[in-house]
């Protein structure tokens, strides 16, 4: 019941209540992994599915993700102590020359909603920085976002930088954004192209 309530309050974007309920669940001895999966991630998954169907919109996803992160912060030390690891690690950024970030932010939240740890590089990120970060932070996936047609080619540079660094076979590269297409993804040899944030999160799960 308490875990369902956490999920429901997360979906409503009630960060303060979610944090209180997560603490209550911890105090009651519910396993941190269960609080995470059946409370927080359950709520985010429902939001993600509703977002795909246009039943909720960007602001609802943002506040739900904020509620999730507030709750997850309480669980992090407990999960780390018991050796529970994230589903995977992703580094994400908007490519060099591009300052748009709302799409990238949404993808980040949906990835966290699937249990990924996300290293957010922000915007205007050079190709080499994606690779350096992925190596340093042990990321399995790199996600590149672009909104400007003139910056899309940086994504090809990311693929090349991964090859030059000798890590191409260890790191999956996903791309997305308004000017990006499946055709372009195939052309540059990236691993996946997704059309929106919810699809990106699903794809990341499939790529592991």
């Amino acid at each position: 019941m308490l875990l369902k309530e956490i999920s429901a309050q997360l979906q409503a974007g009630k960060a303060k209540i979610v944090k209180e309920l997560v603490q209550q669940a911890i105090n009651e001895g519910i396993a941190a992994e269960d609080i995470l999966e059946k409370g927080l991630l359950d709520g985010m998954n429902i939001i993600g599915e509703k977002f795909k169907k246009n039943e909720v919109f960007v602001p609802e996803v943002l506040v739900a993700a904020r509620a999730m992160n507030q709750g997850a912060m309480l669980l992090k030390p407990i999960l780390a102590e018991s050796g529970v690891e994230a589903k995977g690690r992703v580094c994400i950024g908007t490519v060099e020359g591009d300052l748009h970030d709302i799409g990238k932010n949404l993808v980040k939240m949906m990835l966290e909603g699937k249990g990924f740890e996300v290293v957010d590089l922000g915007t205007d990120v050079p190709a080499k920085k994606f690779i350096e970060t992925a190596v340093e932070e042990n990321c399995q996936i790199i996600c590149c976002s672009a909104l400007l047609t003139t910056t899309v080619d940086v994504m090809a540079d990311v693929v090349k930088a991964a090859e030059d660094a000798g890590v191409r076979d260890k790191i999956k590269i996903m791309i997305g954004g308004a000017p990006v297409t499946q055709e372009y993804c195939d052309k540059i040899g990236a691993d996946a192209y997704t059309i929106d944030a919810a699809s990106a999160a699903d794809m990341a799960v499939n790529l592991l």
């Binding site: 974007g13 246009n54 909720v56 919109f57 960007v58 602001p59 609802e60 943002l62 506040v63 904020r66 020359g97 300052l99 748009h100 970030d101 709302i102 932010n105 400007l148 047609t149 003139t150 308004a178 000017p179 297409t181």
Partner: protein, 328 residues
């Protein structure tokens, strides 16, 4: 024929003419950079004149540069040689900063450069209306408060957002009056950020302010065209149409046929060939096919005008632009 009559006649015509958001690609023909274009009245007027002379668009549209207004308020701006300027940072983050925000004069930033561009364009373009470009109130507030952060603040401190929206609306009415005085026949007002809101949030944070701007500026000789290329517009069409614009312009994130099916027959709607996939990255063949498909689905509606889905990028290929018009 005034702008309202032109829009009506175009929509009702069996052989459709188009009104794409087409301005930046003129930079190629003038051999100037986007940065030069956005900073210079004479170049802006030349760009509109070039588009008016070289294409069959029903009206000349000024630059959809959504940075002018935020820059005037004091937001940080980054110019680029070949892309529209970008607003960076967050000028307003809380109630105190919202209260301290002052509505700038038109002398601030490039507003008067753009108004002068309209005045010069109007002198040179005598056979088509000239439409100025302007940002919408919620989209402007988003640029002042950061487009992601404003979403949180709408939930946490809605009154703070309303404070900024009041000031944004006041500025936009003044800017619109300057465009009217400069001789513009109307304004294309872009409110894309409202297009990712829920219907309830759009009803609170965008619609009332858009209505005020339209009521303040629109008259029998001056038209406000409302642009919203967001993907949630289909769920808020009633709200959108309640705003009282002369026409409504939609993006390629939505199915134009679905819009036309829901739109009352006396409300003019425009859209929506993908500016990136077809105008910039496509071929003459692909854009011809896309345009013919759009016409097949929508041209029988007597309130439909074909257009691009949004602003056509500066580096879009002119062979594709020409193919779009040829396909009509």
């Amino acid at each position: 024929m005034n702008i309202h009559e032109l829009l009506k006649t175009t929509a009702q015509s069996d052989k459709k003419k188009a009104l794409p958001i087409l301005s930046f690609p003129a930079a190629q023909k003038l051999n100037v950079t986007v940065e030069q274009l956005v900073k210079n009245s004479e170049l802006q007027a030349k760009a509109m004149e070039t588009i008016a002379n070289d294409t069959d668009t029903i009206a000349a549209v000024s630059l959809m540069d959504l940075s002018v207004e935020a820059e005037a308020f004091g937001a940080n701006i980054r110019f680029s040689e070949d892309e529209v300027p970008a607003i960076i940072g967050q000028l307003v983050s809380d109630e105190d900063e919202a209260n301290a925000l002052t509505v700038p004069s038109l002398e601030s930033g490039r507003a008067l450069v753009c108004a002068e561009g309209i005045r010069l364009a109007k002198q040179r373009i005598t056979d088509k209306p000239v439409l100025a470009g302007m940002i919408g109130p919620f989209s402007l507030a988003g640029r002042l408060m950061d487009v992601t952060e404003i979403m949180y603040i709408c939930y946490d401190e809605p009154e703070t957002v309303h404070t900024v929206l009041e000031k944004a609306t006041s500025y936009l009415i003044g800017y619109g009056k300057a465009m009217k005085l400069a001789g513009a026949d109307g304004i294309m007002m872009a409110e894309p950020l409202a297009g990712i809101l829920s219907p309830d949030m759009a009803e609170e944070f965008s619609v009332p302010y858009v209505k005020r701007i339209i009521e303040a500026l629109q008259d029998e000789n001056f038209a406000l065209i409302y642009h919203n290329c967001g993907n949630s517009v289909l769920s808020m069409l009633d709200n959108i149409f309640s705003q009282g614009a002369a026409a409504y312009h939609f993006g390629n994130a939505v199915d134009m046929e679905a819009v036309m099916q829901k739109a009352p027959c006396d409300i003019i709607c425009m859209g929506n060939i993908d500016p990136v996939e077809f105008f910039a990255q496509g071929t003459p063949e692909s854009i011809t096919q896309a345009t013919k498909e759009l016409l097949h689905k929508c041209s029988h509606y007597k309130n439909f005008i074909p257009s691009s889905g949004c602003d056509i990028p500066a580096h879009a290929k002119w062979e594709n632009i020409d193919a779009f018009f040829a396909a009509l």
